[in-house]
């Protein structure tokens, strides 16, 4: 079976004019314009199978949102092709959008000044959802996402977390096979994030809803997706299994340890002699990071416990943020 989403050599260029500075520059701008072409997405290719949950990550301005906007049919690609759920998103926008749900974390699809439930009723008509389906899905979302209390509140009075839950429900009312989430957890507290992640896992599991989500928060990705795409400067740097990436690219391990008391602080210098880096977390908590190829965890722990009085210690893998940061810096994957 063909993949649900197939992207080939997708490219988007924006042309914008270079603004000169100052008053004289502004006057010049009126008459002579110099244009610069920026390639926001550069020959990106990937495929997503039905039922997958894929994390799409990249720094600000890396091209994530532009890709999502082409995948959802909002922007027309400069070149390259997208086929999703059997449609060409830009060309067949109106038919295609019946097959997808979209959440942009920074915006809302709900009507700002009126009760949330009114927006849901509108969606019911737009997607031609039957009364029975509408009632059962809404009941279910209300239960899992805990919407009940504020379904009759105008959107402008909701907190960000509440609004996001409503937006998520709105995007899934028509049970689309394909869901795009652009920064769904941005600005949310830990509890709200957790609730949303649980919900997404559940939808993905029970409905086999295919999910593509962008995020800054790599813990979202670790919780939700097995596969990640890393984009930087418009190009895909990594496409593959998250665990695989960790195994292949994690260079460092770290030992987090807690000193017994403050008398141990002056002796910390002794453990850094053989080229091991030390990072302070707080007065008594430290991180020692080491190259896995050069040192074994056992050696490092032995050094530590021989020279310091330690209350407790943990060995941790390098956080995924660090790996991703390294991928950005090198500009490619080894």
């Amino acid at each position: 079976m063909a993949p649900l989403v197939e992207v080939r050599d997708l490219t988007k260029e924006f042309r914008s004019f270079k603004r000169r500075e100052g008053v004289w520059g502004a006057v010049q701008n009126l008459f002579v314009r110099e244009y610069v072409t920026v390639r926001a997405v550069d020959r990106v290719s990937f495929a997503i199978e039905a039922g997958e949950m894929v994390g799409y990550i990249g720094a600000n301005g890396a091209g994530k949102s532009t890709t999502i906007k082409m995948l959802t049919g909002i922007l027309m690609p400069t070149s390259g092709t997208v086929v999703a759920a059997g449609w060409v998103p830009y060309r067949d926008r109106r038919r295609y959008t019946r097959q997808i749900g979209v959440v942009f974390g920074q915006r809302t699809q709900l009507w700002w000044d009126i009760a949330v439930v009114e927006s849901f009723k509108l969606l019911k008509e737009i997607y031609e959802i039957s009364d029975a389906d509408y009632r059962s899905r809404l009941g279910l979302f209300a239960e899992i996402l805990n919407l009940g209390e504020y379904m009759h509140t105008p959107v402008r009075k909701l907190s960000l977390g509440e609004r996001m839950r409503c937006d998520l429900a709105a995007s899934l009312l028509h049970n689309p096979p394909l869901l795009f989430l652009d920064e769904p957890t941005i600005g949310l507290d830990v509890v709200a994030k957790e609730r949303i992640r649980e919900f997404l896992k559940e939808v993905n599991r029970s409905q086999r809803t295919t999910v593509l989500l962008t995020t800054h928060d790599l813990s979202d990705i670790e919780e939700l997706s097995r596969r990640i795409l890393i984009i930087d400067k418009g190009r895909i740097l990594f496409d593959g299994d998250l665990a695989e990436m960790k195994k292949r690219l994690a260079q460092y391990n770290q030992v987090k340890f807690f000193l017994k008391d403050r008398s141990q602080i002056p002796r910390l210098a002794e453990v850094t002699t053989n080229g091991l880096g030390l990072e302070r977390v707080d007065e008594l908590t430290y991180l020692m990071r080491f190259d896995r190829a050069k040192h074994s965890s056992a050696d490092v722990i032995r050094t530590l416990v021989n020279r310091l009085e330690i209350r407790d210690l943990f060995v941790e893998e390098e956080p995924i943020e660090e790996i991703v940061k390294r991928i950005y810096l090198s500009g490619e994957v080894a």
Partner: protein, 284 residues
Amino acid sequence: MGSNAFAAPPLARSPALLPLALRPYAELVRMGFVDTLAYRLRYYTGIATYFIYVSVYYFIWKAIYEHGTSIEGFDFSQIMTYVAVGWIIRSLYFNNIDQDLATQVTEGTLVMNLIKPVNLQGALIATALGQSVFRLVMLTVPTTLLLFLVFPVRRPASLAHFAAFSVSVALSFFIVAALNFAVGTLAIRLLSILGLLRAKYFLLELLSGLLLPISFFPHGFQVALDFLPFQYISYVPLLIYLGKLSGGAAWRALGIQIFWVLALVALGHAMWQWSSRKITVQGG
């Protein structure tokens, strides 16, 4: 998660009074109405504003008519009726589709409309229609009562004229809505069109015949306006109200209005198709 919540695509539908394809738009009319409820206070000041406008014109026309009883076929009571009813119907056909679209473009909220399987032109016009229905109750009716009480405003020429006038005003709404949508799409390519919209606003007041009857304009100008949609917004319905357009001429005027609705909807559709290829989403 319950299993039947996401069951097969919806087939069973509740009995429909409207063709299925129109139901989302009917729902949008309702949304426009409900949405406007949130700002109902605005309409109390609206009534005062319309009253002040008409008062100003009352004194201006009174001064002008000191020196004659009839200008271009309008006596004083006719011109007062023209002005008052002109503002009354403006409260109905007026809408902000152009500005809404321009703001959606500059603020980047347009994307939220593009991810829905609806026709944007239809959606915006339907929402504006809901707002107009709301204004009919909250603004048009009270303003009408007030103006008829205070100023020497005539009643419609006849019941038949009033019926034709009502249809004509409904068509005015669609002319304005379609025109505003077409102008609003320019925001997608030009980005900042608020200045342009301001110019359009004043030009429309003049060319629609709201400020003064088109027959007061120089002859060459009138001929040119015959080929444009603007006078069909205000001037033509008012002529029907006053009984200056009757029978075949009134039917013909309604026919031309329908032509302009269709032509402007087609123009807006074409402009949207042309512009939407160039959408660059602001921010986010």
